[in-house]
Symmetry: C4
Subunit: 263 residues, 4 copies
């Protein structure tokens, strides 16, 4: 009887154990809870909103904390139903030290932190950890694993392009350090300072908080910008291509699986 | 006799009813009227121009309003000629509640709004609705439907990349909130405020109204910018690919249609 | 004897008349002269440089003007050797009214303008026309013609994407006009003014001279930026693809030509 | 006996002499030393850090200088073991005048510059040359050679797109010079000054230090931005495609080599 409830709980919580990869009703509920809890954490950092609704924020935070605590307890309890050898206790210990379970526990503690911590500064930082709830989505998503695999396959290209981009960023920073360090010591007085300029320029963000003002500095910055923007964009281009390939594979694998397991 | 005129009107107004998809002479006239009416609406918001030509603007607005009203009346009248079962009244009612007809009516009311509203603030907002005339172009364009279909086919990729981009935007905002909230409380004092920075940075717009000023904030912003720009650009890249595919299909379908229906 | 010199001149000046498309020695000289004359025109607009080298600038300008005048005269004289029917005079008249010859004449007049105009303001504008010398390169380049053809083939895609991009720019401008017109009337007080913001934002240039300051304005700007940047980049993406295709064709055509005409 | 040590040294230092292209233990050590020495050079330009750790910086600099000196001496000594005809002295002289060896020597001198130079201004510049140590990585990387080859193959496309981009930059600069030179003489008072604006705009960096303020200037800048951004991005797009192709070839070549030389 208990085993049967435990088995149902296991099937509900560990969605990927089911064929077809559809989310269970409980996991659909968890997706909504995670999004709501993260939204609450984000909005809860805005002092002008929190000040006037402090109690509502604390009550909702407690509610999500309890939901996450119950989910965590349910996972620890029901993981004994997982396949594989070993005692129920052994399976539970292995689960508790797994990365996903540690994230779950961090989220529970962060959500219920007002019970554990009283120092305001610590509390503020600990509560930021509630955003780790987003990592719980990783449990539902095979797409991320396929992305990680696709990136790993292109690690050589990524390494070479990142090294080239790094050298270019350094070269640009050195050129502007050489040209502008005397007229703008605050912005270009050392290569680490110039690196801020070269990163913001070569990603084409261009805040304008630092920019060359001497003719030779503008000339060098023009050369660096015209020559370098494509190079600095290459690693992200390779990552985008890897992602798009991973999505393609995922779609094909899903289609094959659907063909193999009709219904 | 009336039926014959009504049928001619129907064929003129509902261009897509014709084989080959060419615009009828009346619809070519409407394209010009729509562009002129929208241009008038845009220029009509500039106070320095309107002030000295108020009467000309009102006269032109009335003229376009009357043209749109006549077009709307003509569509309601002639839609009785459309294919399919049902009485003329039934066809007209179905047409009147269709999205395109509602947009047509909104444009008519917005163009003739000086007759209906006298409050200046309401009038100003209602007149903005004249820009909805642009949606009338949707009637002439199969390209948009093919684009919508192509996007729908890639909804999984779009969803995953948008989720990843959203997480990255949130991660960047949280990092800068953590690093800069004390020295720049106005810009980074909460995660929603930091999100403005992370969106403007990761889209590479980079206004420069907010940017990190502490060394650790600049370091984190550099990492976020270098790592995140490609990810945030992925959903738009997928949409662009979907669009280009839809255009390709449209061109091939048009070529096949042209081959099947010579003349 | 004269005919032979004229024919040699013709073959030197009208490089494309030669098989293989290689530049003649004279045309190589002209490429250098054009680049030098354009560089002189550019540098010649900088008052701090011109002031101290006025005579050198005038002398060089005259020299390039005379070279262009001699080239123009040589073309008019030798064009009589071109293939095709008609008298020498007819060929010359047809040449003189061709667009390339008119540009040549404009450049000659602009270079020698100090002889023709004395009013300083007119002179300054006329001398800018010396930059038209760059158009003389068009004579040497088949790449441009292939690019024009490739763009023409994609005119449907270009038209649809430009219409979509235009609507998005207009939509963004209207949204920010609605949200910010009261707090920033100078920057967002009308839709034409807001269009400056939406163009500079959606091209990701982001000067920061105008940006939303209200929360609702920032929210709308975030949506527009995240959703629109890819769409606005599509027409240029299509042009880049057309160009790359044209280059590919050019390369293949050159390879075939080289295979057909060895030597 | 000496020859045997010299041969071992040769095999350690000239990694590419080994089959499989794996780095030797000594070269792995050198990679770490180069990165550390470059990081030291970068951080060493920041006055706030150097001031309080002057002795540590000088000591580390000397250490890296000695390592590079020993490596250089080892290369000169052991290069006599290289394949090919000629005396040991001939091989050494050929090596000493090779670009890589000259860079090695520059790095040694720059690292040990406090022994050779006493003038502070010269010393500061000479020490910047320590960054040339990055070029030592070129020795380990076939990827760069393949990139250079891939770029060389596309030199025609690169030349045409760079010429087009240059013309567009010049056209934009001339348009804004014409529109804004009187109201903003500092920023647009000559075409070279306007070029700074057009480069920073068409690369989409957009610092905002210079931007048009007149309506006609904003209108022209909008046209230039909408039309030109894609064109200016084309050369970097071609370079990125060349790079990606080179990486592909490298991967295939490595796979074939691995298949041909198992173990």
């Amino acid at each position: 009887m208990t085993a049967s409830l435990r088995n149902k709980t296991y099937r509900q919580l560990f969605a990927r154990a089911e064929a077809g990869g559809k989310l269970t009703p409980f996991n659909r509920f968890m997706v909504v809870v995670i999004i709501a809890a993260v939204a609450l954490s984000i909005i809860g950092t805005e002092p002008t909103i929190v000040r006037s609704h402090r109690n509502a924020f604390i009550a909702l935070e407690m509610f999500f904390g309890v939901v996450f605590a119950v989910e965590y307890a349910g996972r620890v309890w029901s993981v004994a139903e997982s396949d594989g050898d070993g005692s129920a206790l052994g399976k539970r210990l292995r689960f508790i030290v797994s990365p996903m379970a540690i994230i779950d526990l961090v989220v529970v503690v962060a959500s219920l932190s007002p019970f554990f911590f009283s120092d305001a500064a610590i509390l503020r930082l600990v509560r930021l950890l509630r955003l780790a709830a987003l990592a719980k989505f990783g449990r539902f998503s095979r797409a991320l694993q396929e992305l990680a695999r696709a990136i790993a396959e292109r690690r050589y290209e990524l390494f070479v392009t990142m090294a080239l981009a790094g050298m270019l960023l350094l070269f640009g920073a050195t050129a502007l350090y050489w040209a502008e360090r005397e007229v703008q010591p605050e912005a270009f007085g050392s290569i680490p300072r110039s690196l801020w300029w070269s990163i913001i320029t070569l990603t084409t963000v261009g805040y304008g908080d630092v920019s060359p003002i001497t003719p030779i500095g503008k000339f060098l910055a023009s050369l660096v910008a015209l020559g370098g923007i494509g190079l600095v964009a290459m690693p992200t281009g390779i990552m985008a291509a890897a992602f798009s390939e991973a999505m393609q594979r995922h779609r094909e694998a899903a289609a094959e699986e659907a063909a193999a397991n009709p219904i």
